[in-house]
C-alpha cells in the first residue's frame, strides 16, 4: 500500500497520457477533480491487487461522455460519490475497493475522486492497461465478467441501473443514454470479487503510470531524452524516429479515424512508417510491413519535448518517436486478440508482438 497525494497524482496523470496510446482524452479535468477530492479528504491509499481479500467487492469507476462537453459541463465530486451509493443500494452489497476501467487518459484518475470522498482504496490495476474506445473492451469480458449491474448517474439527479445480456449491449445502450443526459455521466460497472480482480485485471498499471510520469518529469528536468526515459522505464521498443509527412483524419460515427505517414530521421533515414489510428493508435507499418498492432500500445512522442502526441492532434511537421509497449498478457490470448486485436478494428492482419521487431 502507498498513499497517493497531489504529487503522485501528477505523475500518474502524465504517465496515463502514454498509456492512452494516442487516445483516452486529455486528463487535465480528471486530475483537477481528483486533486480537489484529495485536498478535501486527504491522500488515497493505492493497494496491490494481492492485498485485496478474495471475498472483497471491487468495482470500476469511470466517466463516460464527450471530452468536448466535459470541458464545459464540469464533472462534480458529488456524482463520483453517489454512483457508488446507488450501486450499493441496488445490489445490497458494499464495495470495498474501486479501480479504473481504463488507465490511459482521463479515466486513469477519475476513480480517485470516488475513493477520496467515499473513503475506500484504489486498486493498482485496471481493465485495459491502456485506452480503448469501447466499454466492453476490458479484460473481465475475456473471462465472462459482466459490465452489469451497472449504475450511471448524472448531475441532474438521474440514476440508471442497467442489466444487460452481454457487454456489447451495455456499450450501445449506455452511449445512447450518455447523449440524452447531456454527455457527462459517471459509471460504476463490472462489479466483481477480489478473487476475480486478481484473475482478471491488468496488474500494477497505476504504479507503472506513476513511474512513466516520474521518468518523463525527471528526464525533462535533467535535459535528458524523455522518449528514452519512457522506453527504459517500461521495456518499450523504439519503432521509428521520423517526421510526419502526411495525415489523413476523418470523423466516423464519433470516432477519429485515419493514418499518419512518417519519413525516417537519423538511424531511420530512408525508411517510412504509417501509423493507423481509430481514436487510439492501432497499427504501425514500417516500409509496408506490419510491426505492431493493437492490443500492444503504439504511441507517438515528440522527439525534443517528449510530449505525447494524441492521434487527434498529430499533424504535418511533427518530429516524433513512435514507441511500442507490449500489452498485458491477458490480451495476447486468442480471446484477447478477438476482442481487441487488429481484426476487431477492421485490419485484416495477424497480431505481431511488438517486441519481435528488430531495427
Amino acid at each position: 500500500m502507498r498513499l497517493i497525494d497531489e504529487a503522485a497524482l501528477d505523475d500518474i496523470t502524465l504517465g496515463s497520457t502514454i498509456f492512452g496510446a494516442g487516445g483516452g482524452g486529455d486528463p487535465y479535468i480528471g486530475k483537477l477533480l481528483a486533486r480537489d477530492a484529495i485536498r478535501r479528504f486527504g491522500p488515497v491509499p493505492l493497494v496491490d491487487v494481492e492485498e485485496v481479500p478474495d471475498d472483497a467487492r471491487v468495482v470500476f469507476i469511470a466517466g463516460m461522455g464527450a471530452p468536448g462537453v466535459l470541458a464545459e459541463k464540469l464533472p462534480r465530486a458529488a456524482e463520483y460519490d453517489r454512483v457508488l451509493r446507488e450501486l450499493e443500494a441496488h445490489t445490497g452489497e458494499k464495495y470495498d475497493y474501486v479501480c479504473p476501467a481504463e488507465a490511459g487518459g482521463l479515466n486513469a484518475v477519475t476513480p480517485f475522486a470516488t475513493a477520496a470522498v467515499v473513503g475506500v482504496p484504489v486498486i493498482d490495476a485496471d481493465g485495459m492497461g491502456r485506452a480503448f474506445p469501447h466499454l466492453e473492451m476490458v479484460t473481465p469480458t475475456l473471462y465472462g465478467g459482466k459490465a452489469t449491474p451497472l449504475v450511471m448517474v448524472d448531475e441532474h439527479g438521474n440514476n440508471m441501473l442497467l442489466t444487460c445480456e452481454d457487454n456489447a449491449w451495455v456499450e450501445r445502450i449506455a452511449r445512447a443514454a450518455v447523449v440524452t443526459s447531456g454527455a457527462n455521466t459517471t459509471l460504476a460497472l463490472y462489479p466483481m470479487s477480489g478473487a476475480e480482480a486478481k484473475a482478471w485485471l491488468v496488474r500494477g498499471v497505476l504504479s507503472a503510470a506513476a513511474e512513466v510520469g516520474r521518468a518523463i518529469r525527471e528526464a525533462r528536468a535533467e535535459h535528458r531524452s524523455a522518449v528514452q526515459a519512457v522506453l527504459d522505464s517500461q521495456n518499450g521498443i523504439l519503432l521509428f524516429e521520423g517526421k510526419v509527412e502526411h495525415v489523413e483524419r476523418r470523423n466516423e460515427g464519433g470516432w477519429t479515424i485515419g493514418r499518419a505517414e512518417l519519413a525516417g530521421l537519423g538511424a531511420d533515414k530512408g525508411n517510412e512508417m504509417v501509423v493507423h489510428f481509430q481514436n487510439e493508435n492501432l497499427m504501425a507499418e514500417r516500409n509496408g510491413r506490419i510491426i505492431a498492432t493493437s492490443p500492444d500500445l503504439i504511441m507517438a512522442m515528440e522527439l525534443d519535448s517528449g510530449e505525447p502526441i494524441p492521434a487527434e492532434e498529430i499533424r504535418y511537421g511533427f518530429r516524433v518517436a513512435v514507441i511500442g509497449l507490449p500489452c498485458d498478457p491477458h490480451w495476447r490470448t486468442p480471446e484477447g486478440l478477438e476482442l481487441a486485436g487488429p481484426r476487431r478494428f477492421g485490419y485484416d492482419v495477424d497480431f505481431t508482438p511488438v517486441e519481435e521487431f528488430v531495427r
Partner: protein, 518 residues
Amino acid sequence: MSLRIGIDVGGTNTDAAVLDGDVVVAATKATTTEDVTTGILDALTDVLPAIDVAEVEAVFIGTTHFINAIAQAKGLATVAAVRIATPPQSLLPMIDWPEHLLPVIGDNFHVVRGGSQFDGRLLNDLDEEGLREVAGRIRAAGIRHVALSAVFSSVNAAPEIRAAEILEEELPEATVTRSALVGRVGLLERENATILNAALRDLADQVINGLERVVGSVGISAPILLSQNDGTVMTLERARLFPIFTIASGPTNSMRGAALLAGITDGVVIDVGGTTSDIGMLQHGFPRESTIAMSLAGVRSNFRIPDVLSLALGGGTIISDDGAKVGPESVGYRIGTEALVFGGGTTTFTDIGVAGGADPIGDPARVAGLDPALVERGLGVIRDMLVTAVDKAKLSSGEVPVIAVGGGAALLKAVGGIDGIVIPPHAGVANAVGASYAEAGGEVDSVYALEGKTRAGVLEEAKELAVARAVEAGADPERVRIIEAEEVPLTHLPGGTAVHARVKAVGPFRALKTAEGK
C-alpha cells in the same frame, strides 16, 4: 493622403511606423518605459517631424500594459465570480491559478443554479431568487466588478444574458463581464479570462485615458485603435469593456507586419529578436493559431495565440569559441556593450553574422579577425536550427516563402540555406507595421447540436454570426470576409449528434474606408 501610425510596445522596445497605404514613410525604435506612455511619446516624437499630423487617419497601438498588470498583480480590481451551473461545483473558479493572483477573488465566488446543455437545452432553470441573494452579498462586500459565466453560454446565451440583467438591476454601480462575450467553449478557461477582464476594467479606463492624452498631446485627433490577440483591432470604447483582448498582440503584429512588408499572405515568418526567434505560419495574411490553451501569466485561458515555435536564437545569442555551440545563453539587452562589433568581448550571432557577410552592424573591423572556421561552423549550426524549425512550422511538404523580420532579420543573409527567404525593407519594425495593418474581426467558436440541421447549415449559421460580429466590431459590411471556417464532430458521441464550429471573419475598419485596407 491618409496616414496610419502603428505602435507596438514590446518588453524592450517601443516601435513606431507611419504608413501611407502600404508604404512605410517613417519608422523608429524607442525604449519601452515602465509607465508605457512615455515610451509611446518618445516614439511618436521621433516619427512626427516627418509627417503632417493632420493627415493621420488612425493610430494603432499594441500594448503590454494589461499583461504586465496580470503578471505583477498590479492595478487589478477585486472581482466577484458568479458561475451559473449545477450547485455544488467541485472545480471552483480560479482552481488552478498562481498564488499571486488569488487575492483578485478571495472568497467572492458564487454558484447559482442554471446554465445550458451542449445542445442548447436548459441544464437547470435559472435560480433568479438565489442570484438576487448573491447580488446582495456582492453589494455588502463592496465589490464593483462581477465576472459572470454560465455553462454552455456560447451555445445558448439566454441564461447568461438573463443573469446579467438581474445583476445589473441589483448592482447598478457594478460592471458585469459576461463570459460568452469573452471566451470560447471550455468553462474554466473562459471563466478565467472573464474574471481577469473584470479585474482589468478600472485599469483599462486609466490606461485608455492615458493613451488618449499622450496621442492628443502631440496634436493627433485621429481615432486610436488597440491591437487584439488575434491580429484584429478594436475601438477604445470597446477596449474599456474588454481589455483582456489586448494582452498578447505582439507576436501577431510581427507576423501581420511581415505579410504586409513582403506582400505575401501565405508563408513562414521568422521573427529574430535579441534572445529568441519566433517561427510561425501565415495563412491568408493571419498567423496560424495554436490549438493549445494560452497561459496568461500562469492562468489557463482558451484564447488562441499564434502557433509559434520559439528558438533560443537571437542577435545576442552567444557562440562558443569553436563555433560548435550556439546559445541558448544570450547577452540580451547588453548586446550594445558586450558583442564584439560593439567593442565587447563576447562572440554573438550578430558578430558571426556580420563576419559572414550580413550588412554591417556596429564596427565590422572588430570581427574581421574572427576564425573563418568558427564563423562557418556557427552559421552552419544556426542554418540547421532554422531549416528544421521552418520545416516544423510548414503545413505540408511543398515549398513556401519564408519572411524574416525583427531586429536581427538582416543576419539571416549570412546564414543562407533557407529556400525562398525574403528579408523585406523595414523588417526591424514589422511589429509596428503589423499593428497599423489591423482590421476589425468577429469570430464564432461554439458547439452546435445537429438535431434538425445539417453540418453545412450549421457552418452557414456560424459564418453569418461571425460576419455580424465583425461588423459590430467596426468592420466595413461590404468588405468583410471569412478567413477561417471549420466544423468538427464532437468525439465520443454517435455521429450526427453535435459539431464544434469555428469561424472567423475580418474586414477593414468602416472609419478608415478611404484608406486602402489590405
